[in-house]
Amino acid sequence: MAEVKAPPLREFPSPPPLAPGAMDTSRPYVASDKIQTAIGFPGELSDSWEQRAIDHMGALLGKYRSLKVFMDSCVHCGACADKCHYFIGTQDPKNMPVARQELMRSVYRRYFTLPGKFFPRIVGARDLTREVLDEWYTYYNQCSECRRCSVFCPYGIDTAEVTMAAKEILDAVGYGQKYTNEIIGKVHKIGNNLGLPGPALADTLEGLEEDTKEETGVDVRFPLDEKGAEVLLVTPSADFFAEPHVDSLIGYAKVFHAAGVSWTLSSKASEAGNFGLFIGNYEQLRAIALRIREAALELGVKRIIVGECGHAWRVAYSFWNTLVGIGAGGRDPFAVQLQSQLDPSVRQPTHICEYTWSLIQRGALKFDKEANDHRVVTFHDSCNVARASRMGDFPGGQFEIPRAIIRAVANKYVEMAPETTHEKTFCCGGGGGLLTDELLDLRVKGALPRMEALRAVADGQGVNFMATICAICKAQFTKVLPYYGFKMNMVGGVHQLVSTAIRLGTHS
């Protein structure tokens, strides 16, 4: 691979000129036969794949109203065209959301509409050839499914839905992506994305207890598989040992300690992440979520809390009730079995930020805010939290609650430019199953809009810490910040800040 370099920051962020073909060789590794078959997909492209791809597309069009409506409704108005961070960073026109959708829409028209059958050239329809399939693989693996384009679309067309459908079709014909599908295999086999087995996890947690004791002098516990605990914490496995993720895990443990609440992690459900989302496969999404349900039933917990992870929170908040009945309002036996065990007086599942904020509001947590005075903090809204979920009981709580926590534990807080935060936040550049080394060039370029906004507050207001509540954001920024001249440890979790400032010891 050629040397990866960050694109220059734009002085005035405006739509860049087009550079056709700029990213047409950026492709992640293809999943091997072994990886594919381990999760029930064909091992490789074989004869008659075209027909199977079209059949699968037809099946998806019958199962997902989103895909059907989105295929028909686009008028090529271009409102989304300049909204994608990958387009801004790479200038490749096929990274404009409308152009990315068009890779599939052109095929849809050819096989599923009358004008596409009779006048393909006029309506921009084309056959599904090997070249087209390769183009799908290339450019649908340059979408992080962040939904930013859907905010600006007059019909709410969400490119993430199209990308997911494309990945689902690619998987169905044996053309899967290695990074994502390998991880899905691991989560089934070992219980988490990083492949950390139960005994190793127990060791790690013991080590964390010792470290925290050394740091604070207090016996903060990190329990694993403790039946009868009140709370099951499900968190991304990166929290167990990656930097800066682990500092937030220590933060969660300190919050539970200070609140005096019994909690546990689960070796079976030692992963909040659900890469089934990234490949748009309902069965995988459900199978991975079922682990959480089973762990909750086995451990007998009253409450399920989810750690700092963007797409995991989307799946937990928006989909868990649908997939496996973690939530409320279920009347069928499957849902009732779990929902009668969970505490109905609190929202299920709960985000760790909702939990911490409710404790802060009750006055149950005390902080030494000065402990964070060496930091000037800003907050990066993670795409799946911002545009695909909620916290609290009002729309937009997902923006207000993390910020409220930061203000409660740190004195110096600065907002980045409003067109780059809240619902208009830019993806870190590593979401959607793209957090793999062979895509580093794409990831660095995709981070451009966020880096521009960070540069402005770093130079202008002295910001030296960007807090976020997503494991992928943390890993991605740790890697790409240095390309833009920032220190890698500039990124961290909200509960890392909580951890620094929280008072331990006495609780009533």
């Binding site: 989103s66 509409t113 989909f319």
Partner: protein
């Protein structure tokens, strides 16, 4: 009745059937297809009433488009509002007596015809001038704009230059509706106008004009943000639980 009149009579029956049946089939298809997952683009309303308001803002004011591109919004909104007024003005050809409120907006309808043309011209110019919009445009995008522009231009031409007997035109359409055919004035400009309108009606259910019904079925806009409070389950997904 002239042969041309008969051809137009049959054409409008056919176009109406294609438009109505085509749209009905499409809408039924959208309505029947399940949305298995909760995917509103958040922040989203948490109640059905809130969703109705969001949809109304989207359909009446093009709220999201305004956030996305102010120029496209100006031209696009101008075109759609003016088109609505022009359509209302044309109701006088299909109602006897003309409804009170239709009579009221007649002068506005003429103004709107110019606004419609201006909006369409703006959208067409944008498609040609802006590099990234040019890149994503296919021939049918231009054809659709040209078709609408020609409909507007031929209509205005009849109003100001090649005047036609509008009383006879009204008699023709009322005749069609009552299955009591009346002659159509033999004016070329009227033929052009009607031909283009019929073409628009026929392509509607097979083209990107489906964005009109589509927006109401868009899950990212029409779902309430309440996944923790109630269990949302598609029929095909529920079957997975019985395995």
């Amino acid at each position: 009745m002239s042969a041309v009149g008969i051809v137009f009579a049959l054409l409008f029956y056919a176009a109406t059937v294609v438009l109505v049946v085509g749209l009905a089939v499409r809408i039924a298809d959208y309505a029947r297809t399940p949305a298995p997952l909760k995917i509103p683009t958040t922040p989203a309303p948490v109640t059905r009433g809130g969703v109705a308001l969001r949809m109304a803002r989207e359909v009446v004011f093009f709220e999201s488009l305004f956030k996305g591109s102010v120029w496209t919004w100006i031209f696009g909104w101008l075109f759609h509002v003016c088109l609505a007024l022009v359509l209302v003005r044309h109701l006088r050809y299909f109602t006897e007596p003309v409804w009170f409120w239709v009579a009221l907006v007649q002068p506005l309808g003429i103004l709107a015809a110019f606004g419609m043309a201006a909006g369409l011209a703006g959208l067409l110019a944008r498609r040609i001038v802006v590099e990234r919009i040019r890149y994503i445009s296919v021939p049918s995008d231009y054809l659709m704009l040209v078709l609408l522009l020609l409909i507007g231009a031929s209509g205005l031409a009849m109003k100001y230059v090649f005047r036609t007997d509008v009383v006879a035109v009204k008699a023709f359409f009322l005749g069609l509706m009552r299955f009591d055919w009346q002659p159509l004035p033999a004016d070329p400009m009227l033929y052009i106008h009607l031909l283009l309108v019929a073409a628009l009606m026929i392509v509607f259910p097979f083209s990107k004009l489906l964005h009109a019904p589509g927006v109401f079925f868009s899950p990212s806009r029409n779902q309430a943000d309440d996944p923790r409070e109630s269990r949302h389950l598609a029929p095909w997904a529920a079957k997975l639980e019985q395995r």
